[in-house]
Amino acid sequence: MGSENLNDRRELTVQGGIRKSRLQRNQYTISLMNEGLRAGLLTSQEMMRIQNAFMQILQELIKKYTQGESTSVTTETAESILTSIMYAADAYLFSLEEPEKAITYLKTIDVRQIYERGVEKVSQCFEETKQLFKEITANKLEVPVDAYNMTIDESLPVFLRKYGIIFDAHNTMASIDYPLALDDMRLQGVFYMKQYLERLKLETKFCALFDQQELLDLLVHYGRECRFNYRIELFNIYELMLNNAIFSILSGGDADEIRISEGQYKRLEQQFMSLTEPQIRSVISDAMGRLQQELPINSQLKEYMDGYKEDLAKRVANAAKHNNLRTVIITEREGGAKSIVILFNEKDRMSDVQLRRLLHEILACERKEDKVKLILSSFHSFHDYLDMLESDCLYGDEYDALFHAFGDMELAILAKIVFYEELRSETLDLPSILLLENEYPMEWQMRFVQCLQGMSRERLQAFEKYMDEMDYEQMKFY
């Protein structure tokens, strides 16, 4: 009796229709049903009927999943299949655009039909995604950025191969490392992937408007500025280029230029330092407008670029405030001081068989002096040295003996690798890095650090000099 009264009161107060803000794209059907119930557009009986219909579909799919070999599955499997079903239902109901219309469909159309139309939508989206992927590979940028290349060459094909429309529709199942300038992580499954590829396509289109050598140079300057190996870092190429194109316009350059000279940088610095944040926003907005006018940019790309404006304005304002505009405006800077060019040639590597035989020989040596002698006389390639160190063929003080036998150049190269993270900070020199007592993942790295900690200051200084003169551009780590 009491609960009936409560229900009555609730029915009276829930007027006003669906509140769109309460609907979630990711769980559209469920949030729609909850909202429909709250707004009095769905009764609890209808809700039950719809839920039961989804559960019936689930039962059938579980049978398909186990191919009749099992009548039970783990709860995780069942939940995953149910999520896949709801993903399809979401796809269809969301495509109806109007939530009220979607609720009417839920009330009047067989849930199975909603599901099946959803599966069609998912499948259609998957086909479009495949098509987009073809376009992306055909227009791929020639850049030595691993995350970009691996995402296109390896991760996306894995997704296209493994994506399951029926049992795994909600699953994104690919490690997409390359970051977009603007990403919407609220989406899942193939809808996410399609959006990712659409945006990647726009970004690539933009990057292709510029001289590709200038792009490669920009990457090098960016790596220098950040003191890292840009090949293995995660960053967005389009963002870098768009920033510099805007800065080019703002410093008197052309719209299709991304080179910023030291002189242009000085001008930009002066300009940004004297502006307030709203002024910076307006200056950037104007430059973006000019860029969009002067370059052949379609409406989709224009819209995408506009979405980034605010972000850039904030970053510039912030950098101006903290006096580090160089991190945003990537300026042409000569390697100048870096006089050492080390050639690491992949082709110098020995074959796997050769390497394995040598490692066996090293293991078989009884005296550490013999091991060191053998290593110094047989290893010539930097990659082979790394393979050898990572193979754990040395024990205890044998590491020490080897590192002491190395010259300054070898020590400098190893230190550049081991202290990669630490060296990104301009303020840390080698002795202070050694004081940090950081942990390192590999045994040889720990031994290396211990060995350096025991070296005299003079010895450290002697090879630190070489470290300063080396760029990561010459090194490839694997």
Binding site: T66, S70, V73, T75, T77, A78, E79, R161, K162
Partner: protein, 162 residues
């Protein structure tokens, strides 16, 4: 875990049908001197639900229970006085084993494997059966891992034939 409960409640409408089917099996099992009363069936179903819930599994039908009764009722190690308790334990062991063998062995094959070990190796001891099957599951997973590492790089599919 809520799905396990939802499924059970969905099957409420089927409960009566299930009960009848299970009671009908008495016709077959009584030749081995084993009979279930309505109360026994109700208790067994409750224990089955509990086992499913605790092992986090969702069951779609009553086929496993029926097969379990048919297969095990022929055993000379099961008497009327321990019949229901034994069936409850066997349910528990079966669903445990489904999880431990990562759903890679089909229901019927698994049930027959259980029966074989129960008869030959354990001579009707449920405790021994449990520990033998634990070893069996461990070995099965080891083999699975080996097979998967050999197939590494290739697309993996549901493979119940292992």
């Amino acid at each position: 875990m809520y799905l396990s409960r939802i499924f059970n409640s969905l099957n409420v409408s089927m409960q009566e049908q299930y009960m009848t089917e299970l009671l009908e099996l008495n016709e077959k099992t009584k030749e081995y001197g084993l009979v279930l009363s309505l109360k026994d069936v109700q208790l067994m179903m409750a224990a089955r639900s509990q086992a499913l819930y605790s092992y986090g599994r969702v069951e779609l039908s009553i086929e496993v229970t029926k097969e379990l009764i048919e297969v095990f009722s022929t055993s000379s190690f099961i008497q009327q006085e321990n019949y229901v308790d034994t069936l409850n334990e066997l349910h528990e062991i079966f669903y445990y084993l489904k999880n431990e063998t990562e759903d890679r062995i089909n229901d019927i094959k698994l049930l027959h494997r259980m029966k074989e070990v129960f008869e030959d190796d354990c001579e009707g001891s449920l405790d021994l059966l449990k520990s033998r099957l634990e070893e069996y599951a461990e070995e099965f997973r080891r083999q699975l891992l080996k097979k998967e590492s050999l197939l590494e790089g290739e697309d993996e599919y549901w493979d119940l034939k292992i």
